[in-house]
Symmetry: C2
Subunit: 322 residues, 2 copies
């Protein structure tokens, strides 16, 4: 069996041939360069062909292809919703791949699911069977591995923790993205900083140097280094929310580890100990003692390793894609 | 295969023989009458013997025994922690049953897990594969069925949602039982009513008729019927908390149904629509549209049906207890 893992991002697609123990044998990357709809599938075919050629793989060798997608992978249909790729509102990715590579197994999972598989195969949570991956970027989502299995739910909208209810009463601020994201996603951190600046006209600190509308979470983290009061207040609130949310994941799932990743961890990776201290107050006391918190060890490769891991896992489980 | 389901409570044990389609063929109940430790296991043997005799089952017929226990069933050891049964801090129930019935399969699950299996086999969530059971009694816990499987976690402390963090900042009131329980368990509802009465000396309503220390959640529900202001305020807060907590379960698990059970639902069953309305504000919008909320249809039998269901399920999956 030949194992191919592909990680589709908003601007590029990385691919690799994997050994049965999930190490990378060879790796290639192609740029999307504005491609949309079917042309993105075409680029996936090109990358597969290139890997097959470089790996001197025969046309009739059995292949298991795992793909990490930036959005939702619908497990029943094999279709994909990827908000950053035009024309991928409900793209029939599995069908397209099965047409092009008819004798192959095709497995498609969301980026947060692949991240947890990547970390559990080659990263910080290696060897654990119960792990939650908290992905904090523009939004917040979770990948969840319990009893060694990936969870999907009724319609693959699983782990939508950005909507976690943490701060009553309900506010209309939560309408767009949910309560947790409003305080603690990249977008939320920038929003809270802007809201605070509006009520703080005498402020002349670092964050007033940016054009107000362009203020980002990364500017807030930069300002935090010099103990800027606005940045400190916003990040303290985010730590409370990350702590409460991960406490809830610990009480619910009784995992061995919570892994924090995504663009914000990154700069927030140094805060993981403070998040654990906050979570320790709230969580089921035995479950939190049994659980470690850690930042991702594979910030750029977790998705690709996860894609490799599902290609191996599904082939071993003898799962077909029908 | 002979299927035996047993539901161990704090005061009695119910048992039944089940058909392969999980209907009850015959049923018996014995009272614990203060038994402790090994004597409770002895009563379980007596009940099994009685069912075997009544069912005219031969000694060498293969048996699959499922047991619902009021506490935590440790899946690796087969031991049980049951706080209301003296001597069952870590009782080796599976080992004892295997000694007494050596040729049988033995499956032990917590009451919240059995409740969800019971409801999904014979109750309100019949046929669904993704269901969360919210058990609200003295405390609060959840049984979780996802992708048709029961979840356990690293050490079977799964679904400890009584500890859900919902109301920051952290208060020492939450130390003992967690934030969600402090507002919305049976104990929590009584506590909130007492706290409110302390700040409300001019109150002369229905709740002032009870000896203060003996006030229970059921008294609060009784007072709610006559629109008592203290009861109304306490239950409104509990509805907000039940709504937020179940919204979090919906966003996380993307279930087809959330089932409310335990002693409080019961009197709170009429509030399920209001809980759904609160949850609708907070939850991931697509996931909440796909999810129904309902009260248990088997308030007294869910555990027993669930015990029957695991005896059948584990026998069909050809799972052994080793």
């Amino acid at each position: 069996m030949v194992y191919i893992g592909l990680d589709l991002g908003g601007t590029k697609i990385s691919g690799a041939l994997f050994s049965e123990s999930c190490t990378i044998l060879l790796q290639e990357t192609l740029l999307l360069e504005g491609r949309e709809g079917k042309a993105v599938a075409g680029l996936i075919f090109t990358l597969c062909d290139k890997l097959i050629e470089l790996g001197s793989i025969k046309a009739d060798d059995e292949k298991s292809i795992g793909i990490c997608v930036p959005g939702i992978a619908y497990s029943k249909t094999g279709n994909v919703w990827a908000p950053n790729i035009p024309g991928w509102e409900n793209f029939p990715l599995r069908e397209e791949l099965k047409k092009r590579f008819p004798h192959s197994l095709v497995s498609i999972e969301s980026d947060r699911t692949c991240s947890i598989l990547g970390e559990t195969n080659q990263g910080v949570s290696r060897g654990y069977k119960n792990v939650v991956f908290v992905a904090v970027g523009t939004g917040i989502g979770a990948g969840i591995l319990i009893d060694g299995r990936i969870l999907h739910g009724a319609s693959d909208i699983f782990g939508a923790i950005g909507w976690m209810a943490l701060q009553p009463p309900y506010s209309n601020d939560y309408d767009q993205c949910g309560c947790f994201e409003t305080y603690a996603s990249g977008t939320g951190i920038a929003l809270q900083a802007k809201n605070l600046l509006k009520t703080f006209p005498q402020y002349k600190g670092q964050l007033s140097q940016f054009p107000f509308d362009q203020l980002t979470a990364h500017d807030v983290f930069d300002a935090l280094k010099s103990k800027d009061p606005v940045a400190t207040q916003v990040i303290n609130k985010a730590i409370e929310m990350w702590g409460m949310a991960s406490a809830n994941l610990v009480s619910l799932f009784n995992p061995e580890m919570v892994v924090f990743g995504g663009g914000i961890f990154g700069p927030a990776a140094v805060l993981v100990d403070r998040i654990y201290m906050e979570a320790q107050k709230w969580a089921q006391p035995i479950a939190i003692k049994q659980c470690k918190f850690a930042a991702s060890e594979l910030p750029n490769l977790a998705g690709l390793y996860g894609a490799g891991a599902i290609s191996i896992l599904n082939s071993q489980n003898n799962l077909t894609d029908h």
